[in-house]
């Protein structure tokens, strides 16, 4: 028998291309835009209404959040319990969510129960009544959860970091207990009227989208008077940010770990350095073998996890390194983080490592397109930012072609220590 040589890795194959499905797009009879993506044998469907209305669309970021949460707490014809049953009886799932730019109402259901559940989605969007009792329950329960969360160094750090980066723009609105107490029911109703309107939405369908699904969506959402679609609004102009002290510290006496956030404002997805910074932050801290993980976790054992990445909003973006470390090694960990940045600024990334990261990123991208709902998520991530799927072709090209010199230059341009805010929550 031929002895297999276990010291030799098997032959590896490069990923040629990522199979991407372009959603079918059309307008309902009332002009509402719908995007559809059908794949896979499982007879399930996800119906997602995205509203151009995130937490940055109100001076109190809790108003959009509470308003969308309250939609399912009562309509003109059904109370909260009846709405919950109306979904649960059919084994379906209803979720409302939001980020700074957008809010969503999402239904997950087996195909065969779409006719029974989808009308309820229209009902909660078009005729919610914001009952006083349910509102007070939601407010006080969420406030109690907020207070619990404010006992966690990681939560405090994540929240504070956003405020430091973006204040006083809507992306950096400050939230405290008073923010919860000051929201009024009237504000929720007003926000619903102005923002959670069908005309301000786009519908995304993914899963097993056959003729019946299409018909159902058309019957439920397409039969109003013709709408003037409002979704493509102009973005508000960028506002100046407050200059803050570079080093920030919030003491938490009983902490056994300190949370560290080091980063800065960056740019949107259309910036020429966007892909480069995505790749750079992967090398620095975007995968298990990254510089930060290899040093601070695998070599020093200071943490259970450390990462770096960039995030994009419609009107801005940021870079952040984040971790929780033992309080006794906090200062050392911070020193190692800056050391790793300096190395990237001074020494070109070795070819072998760069090759590995490129392959890792391509494999990751491949995985992120696997299945109808994943495919639709990728499309949304481009479409909602004014882009299309060619965005991912450009990304693939950037991954394949980037070189060490470019990476080093990006590190020098965007990761200067003076430009980075350093926030520690816990003990130093």
């Amino acid at each position: 028998m031929i002895q297999t040589d276990r010291t030799q890795a098997p032959a590896a194959h490069e990923i040629a291309s990522i199979p991407m499905i372009n959603p079918v797009s059309h307008l309902l009879p009332n002009n509402l835009p719908v995007y559809e993506l059908s794949a896979g044998p499982q007879e399930v469907v996800k119906v997602e209404l995205v509203f151009n209305a995130g937490s940055a669309h109100h001076s109190n970021p809790l108003v959009p959040a509470f308003s969308i949460g309250m939609l399912q707490e009562g309509t003109q014809r059904k109370n909260a319990a009846e709405i919950a049953s109306g979904i649960d009886d059919f084994g379906a799932f209803l979720e409302t969510s939001h980020d700074k730019d957008f809010s969503n109402v999402t239904l997950f259901t087996l195909n065969r129960y779409l006719p029974q559940t989808l009308p309820l989605i229209r009902e909660i969007i078009t005729e919610p009544v914001f009952p006083e009792k349910e509102w007070e329950i939601m407010r006080s329960n969420r406030l109690e959860k907020f207070i619990i969360n404010m006992g966690k160094v990681s939560y405090i750090a994540g929240k504070r970091f956003q405020e430091l980066l973006f204040a006083p723009t809507p992306y950096g609105a400050f939230i405290d207990e008073q923010s919860y107490k000051s929201v009024t029911r009237d504000e929720l109703v007003e926000f619903w009227k102005s923002h959670y309107r069908l005309a301000n939405s786009t519908i995304f369908l993914s899963g097993h989208v056959a003729g019946e699904v299409r018909d159902c969506v058309r019957d439920v959402f397409g039969k109003t008077v013709p709408l003037n679609p409002e979704f493509e609004q102009q973005l508000p102009p960028l506002q100046p940010k407050t200059q803050v002290e570079r080093e920030q510290f919030i003491l938490k006496e009983d902490a056994v770990q300190s949370a560290i956030r080091i980063g800065r404002r960056l740019f949107t997805k259309t910036h020429p350095d966007y892909f480069g910074m995505k790749i750079l932050s992967t090398i620095l801290g975007g995968y298990f073998g990254s510089r930060l993980m290899s040093n601070i976790r695998e070599d020093k054992g200071y943490t259970y996890g450390i990462g770096a990445g960039i995030a994009s909003l419609r009107n801005d973006g940021y870079f952040v390194i984040s971790t929780e470390v033992g309080t006794d090694v906090c200062s050392k960990a911070i020193a190692e983080i800056y050391k790793e940045i300096e190395i990237l600024q001074n020494q070109p990334v070795p070819e072998a490592e760069l090759h590995l990261v490129k392959n890792y990123l391509l494999g990751n991208l491949l995985k992120s397109f696997d299945g109808p709902m994943e495919q639709m998520d990728r499309f949304k991530s481009a479409h909602l930012f004014g882009l299309d799927l060619s965005f991912y072709n450009s990304y693939t090209d950037a991954i394949k072609s980037i070189n060490s010199e470019t990476i080093r230059n990006l590190a020098r341009t965007w990761l200067q220590k003076d430009d980075l805010i350093e926030l520690v929550v816990g003990k130093k």
Binding site: T4, R6, T7, A9, P10, A11, A12, H13, I15, P19, G40, Q42, E43, V44, A80, A81, A84, D88, D89, G91, A92, F93, F108, L110, Y113, I137, S140, N141, E144, K145, I148, G151, K152, D254, A255, V256, Q257, F288, G289, R297, E298, K300, G301, Y302, T303, Y304, E324, V325, H355, L356, N359, Y360, L362, G363, N364, L366, K367, D370, G371, P372
Partner: protein, 412 residues
């Protein structure tokens, strides 16, 4: 419907293959039949620490992660009281790299002192991050020994105490590997854009030469029937009181398991559930509350957990939960309510099948339970549950003497 093939190598390794040409990916899931329950009571946290060590390099491959990332793959693992499960996903054309990596670390680890030292520290940081540095973090560290006095489920997977992890030595590590990390103690599922023939060839090439090992006889002490209600009160620096009520229930393979699982859904899964409606909406005693089962292979727990609203006494909250439990014991659940939770369970199952790795894990788990085909019988089993069985199980499981109660109180 998850189609699969099954074969066994001469060294005892069980292999399952699920072909799916619609995905560009492939995944390998390897389940080792060892968990926290198999630990020495004076050396707990070991199965989990060992999971970390599996990534520290094997006998022929000094770095596990690098070669996998190189071919566009990623991986992770988890440990619980019952099993340790490793999984990787990668582009299907590079599946052989997965076989190379997994077979080498099944063959033998590198056993480096440096790796042990680092992972000890990492696990200690994990202990702090998850259990000590979070409000309510240590709840389950308390519930395990409260509910179990004899059975190894009496300690949590992370370990009874940090000292056990600090004291782990290389001889212990090597012994653990010899006893549990060999082909006869493992189930491998390969799923995705692969073929049976391809997997058979690769399994033969990479795994067949690994020597078999002795399947350890599991002789765990049985937990005696609980005859008296257990109680514990602790005070912590948290803003709200929390209540946990846990009840003993049969293991995963018991004929009553699905009935009891659905019972927990009727009580406390989702916003239309009884506890949500009565405790959060109507009486407003809780800000959150759930009912769930631990899903352990050996007799596990049925749990009700919630956070008490400010200004409410925990004793009153407990009384209200008791009233709800008595209702479900004494009055048959209406058919439509049972139908509702069955629909939810079926829906969850079907949505779960969208993901290739999920399918692989379910096959591995089914095989461990004795029959991989049970993944395709789940819905049938769920549908077979009836109202009379729910009521019988409710009166057996939710009895006061079967209950362990933790009052987790705010210091302020």
């Amino acid at each position: 419907m998850i189609n699969y093939h099954r074969f066994t190598l001469t060294n005892g390794l069980r292999v399952l293959v699920h072909e799916d040409p619609s995905t560009p990916l492939a995944c390998i899931n390897i389940l080792y039949d060892v968990g926290a329950r198999d630990e020495d009571p004076n050396r707990t946290g070991f199965a989990h620490l060992f999971e970390h060590l599996m990534f520290g390099g094997s006998v022929n491959i000094p770095n596990y992660d690098g070669p996998l990332q190189e071919v566009g793959g990623e991986n992770n693992a988890f440990t619980n009281n019952d099993i340790t499960n490793y999984y990787l996903t990668l582009p299907a054309e590079n599946i052989e790299t997965g076989f190379w990596l997994e077979s080498d670390r099944m063959l033998s680890l590198a056993f480096s002192e440096k790796s042990l030292e680092v992972q000890r520290n990492v696990v200690i940081e994990e202990y702090k991050q998850r259990y000590l540095n979070q409000p309510y973090g240590d709840e389950w560290l308390l519930l395990h020994p409260l509910a179990y006095k004899v059975h190894p489920y009496r300690w949590a997977t992370i370990g009874k105490e940090i000292a056990h992890i600090e004291d782990a030595r290389m001889e212990d590590v090597k012994d653990f590997f010899r006893r549990y990390y060999h082909p006869a103690n493992a189930i491998m599922v390969v799923a995705g854009n692969v073929t049976l023939q391809q997997v058979q060839e690769l399994a033969e090439k990479w795994f067949a030469s690994i020597p078999s090992g002795e399947k350890q006889k599991r002789n765990l002490p049985e937990e005696p029937t609980q005859k008296v209600e257990q109680r514990q009160t602790v005070h912590r620096d948290v803003p709200s009181d929390a209540l946990h009520m846990v009840f003993h229930m049969p293991g995963r393979n018991h004929p009553d398991y699905h009935t009891i699982d659905l019972l927990s859904d009727v009580l406390g899964r989702g916003q239309s559930s009884r506890l949500y409606q009565s405790m959060i909406k109507e009486s407003q005693l809780f800000t959150e509350i759930n009912a769930y089962v631990t899903g352990n292979l050996e007799p596990g727990l049925f749990a009700i957990s919630g956070k008490i609203k400010q200004g409410i006494k925990i004793e009153d909250a407990e009384k209200a939960v008791r009233t709800e439990l008595n209702r479900i014991i004494n009055e048959p659940v209406p058919e439509h309510e049972l139908e509702k939770v069955k629909n939810k369970a079926e829906s969850t199952h079907v949505f779960g099948e969208l993901n290739i790795l999920n399918r692989a894990m379910n096959l591995a788990f089914g095989e461990l339970l004795g029959d991989a085909s049970m993944v395709n019988k789940e819905i049938e089993r769920i549908r077979a549950v009836n109202v009379a069985e729910i009521q019988r199980c409710a009166s057996e499981i939710l009895a006061p003497e079967n209950c362990s109660i933790l009052y987790y109180l705010s210091k302020s």
